[in-house]
Subunit: 336 residues, 2 copies
């Protein structure tokens, strides 16, 4: 069924049907009502593929996240989705699985569908995506970090500074034998930034860095047991395990509890991200608070701005920082 069919049925032209479906165009109220009624009755669904081809507006933006199974990304996605809905745009989600190659493939696949904006996590990209994105001439927003060489717009926070702030706070509490447990990251990833922040904080306090890794990202709860083994093998005198993320921290805490070790009495543990589990777990987990939904909202706002200012030939890159603050909880409470 096409617009023609609706139009013929009402004795009008397809163009009028098309206009009746766009709220901003001038159609007599009676005509519009008749069109909408006919569409409803016939169960007609416009072919957006044809519409997109003709109007060269695809009506969607694409977001690529490294993992769907991450409450933060889903919050960001949700917030971004509803921000875009206000502009009548759909959000398509792609899952890169922390894999640059997969990310590049997804970008190519998405670009073929002509998205009107694209949102990436700033996690180190395949260099080949840069010319592709440049050619697409659409707003690109990197989220969840402040990359050294942004592609275009950015909404995030410095993972490095955030982790440095957390470690500083923990050193301030009196901890010194702090071991970092993270992922085997390539350079330029958010995990690598956090590790760097840890190293800086330790160095600033005159402490030697103590680094351990659980393998390739993402770090999950299930890595806690092996992570704790690794930490203890390398640094048996560890008094605090600073984890790259909350789920890993929870896993480490569970591993301690399985050994009958009190947390934080025998071993303190910190995370990153303020996932739901960090608040609910017993003990509650010391972490870095991030406004994941805020990142999504801001990204949506930037895209909106970019659309409004499209006439402008040289769109200035917008770099917007969101807060990321240490949040000390029971899992690192010092005995009095």
């Amino acid at each position: 069924m096409r617009m023609q069919d609706i139009a013929r049925r009402l004795g009008i032209s397809a163009m009028t049907v098309s206009r009746a479906l766009k709220s901003d165009s001038s159609v007599a109220p009676a005509t519009r009502a008749a069109v909408l009624k006919a569409i409803e009755e016939l169960g007609y669904v416009p072919n957006q593929i044809a519409g997109s081809l003709s109007s060269s507006r695809s009506g969607f933006a694409a977001i690529l996240v490294p993992s769907l199974n991450n409450p933060h990304f889903s919050e960001t996605v949700l917030a971004l989705g509803s921000a875009l809905q206000d502009r009548n745009m759909q959000l398509l989600i792609g899952n890169t699985d922390y894999d640059r190659r997969k990310e590049a493939e997804l970008i190519r696949a998405f670009l073929a569908r002509k998205p009107e904006a694209i949102i990436l996590t700033s996690d180190g990209h395949d260099p080949r995506i840069l010319p592709m994105l440049a050619k697409a001439r659409i707003p690109v927003v990197e989220i969840w970090d402040l990359p050294a060489r942004p592609i275009q717009h950015v909404v995030g926070f410095s993972n490095q500074r955030a982790m440095r702030g957390l470690i500083n706070a923990l050193i301030g509490q009196g901890y010194s034998r702090i071991t970092y447990l993270g992922e085997a990251d390539d350079a330029d990833t958010r995990g690598a930034s956090r590790r760097l922040g840890y190293c800086e904080a330790m160095a600033a306090a005159g402490l030697a860095p103590r680094l351990c890794s659980i393998g390739r990202p993402p770090a999950t709860m299930s890595d806690g047991e092996r992570g704790l083994d690794t930490v203890l093998a390398a640094y048996p005198d560890t008094e605090l395990v600073a984890c790259v993320s909350d789920p890993l921290a929870f896993g480490v805490i569970a591993a301690c509890q399985r050994r009958g070790w009190a947390v934080p009495g025998r071993m303190a543990v910190s995370g990153f991200g303020d996932f739901e589990i960090a608040r609910i777990a017993v003990p509650a987990i010391t972490t870095v608070q991030i406004d994941a939904a805020g990142i999504g909202r801001e990204a949506g706002a930037i895209i909106s701005e970019a659309f409004s200012a499209r006439r402008d030939a040289s769109p200035a890159a917008i770099i917007r920082a969101v807060p990321a603050l240490p949040c000390l909880r029971a899992s690192t409470a010092m005995a009095r």
Copy 2:
């Protein structure tokens, strides 16, 4: 940039470029190589919108999940995605947020883009989607339950039977004052099925059902504290809280631990779904094991079959059950 531009540059026709990009069509190897080289050099990305319009193959399937923030759905999505990749199809994800109206809107929006298949969670749908889906004439797969009146294909398990099996097992362990803590579901949802299974098992054992609710889905860890309050207010003598899902169970356990109550000593708790947290938490959580990735794989297989058998005028609905077995763990261990 269009195929024309590539073609002109090589002194060939656009059609040959098009063919060179489809692996199955006959093009001289030298020509194909030249085309691919030119495309690479120019960074040309084919316009799939035009391609879809002309070939009436959109090259994607749509999946609607109630929540992204759920490890199970992301596993299913992942598995389905890679199953479809083998057929050179992309998977677009929509988030219904446990909202029928939102689901219906998303379906309409997706159908406008002409997906080649659509996958839904069987959670009770807006009745208006049925004619829409029927008109689309594409494979529809409902996953994660065995609905009484399937739309078309189904891959799932009986949430009702699974919960009944778990409660039976717990009754077999010696529990009798089992209180169910779930969501305020509409009929036909998976949560409602589980509640029904609980009631059946209790009735079969001659026990009165003890039902509590935390409000509208999804139940999260954060609902544990209030959930426990609700349970204790209604049934103070409860010895086991049977939760609608693992995250809620974890929240209830944490709430118990905050009160200094031993789990399972003072209060036993069970979940549903075998989320990662159920294995890692201390104590490990009794639950129902489900092969989430298997559901995705099976759904992919069904879609593949449906495509192959498309010539067949009356595609028989495929109903495929996956296992869902009780898994008893420390959180409901009886004292000896």
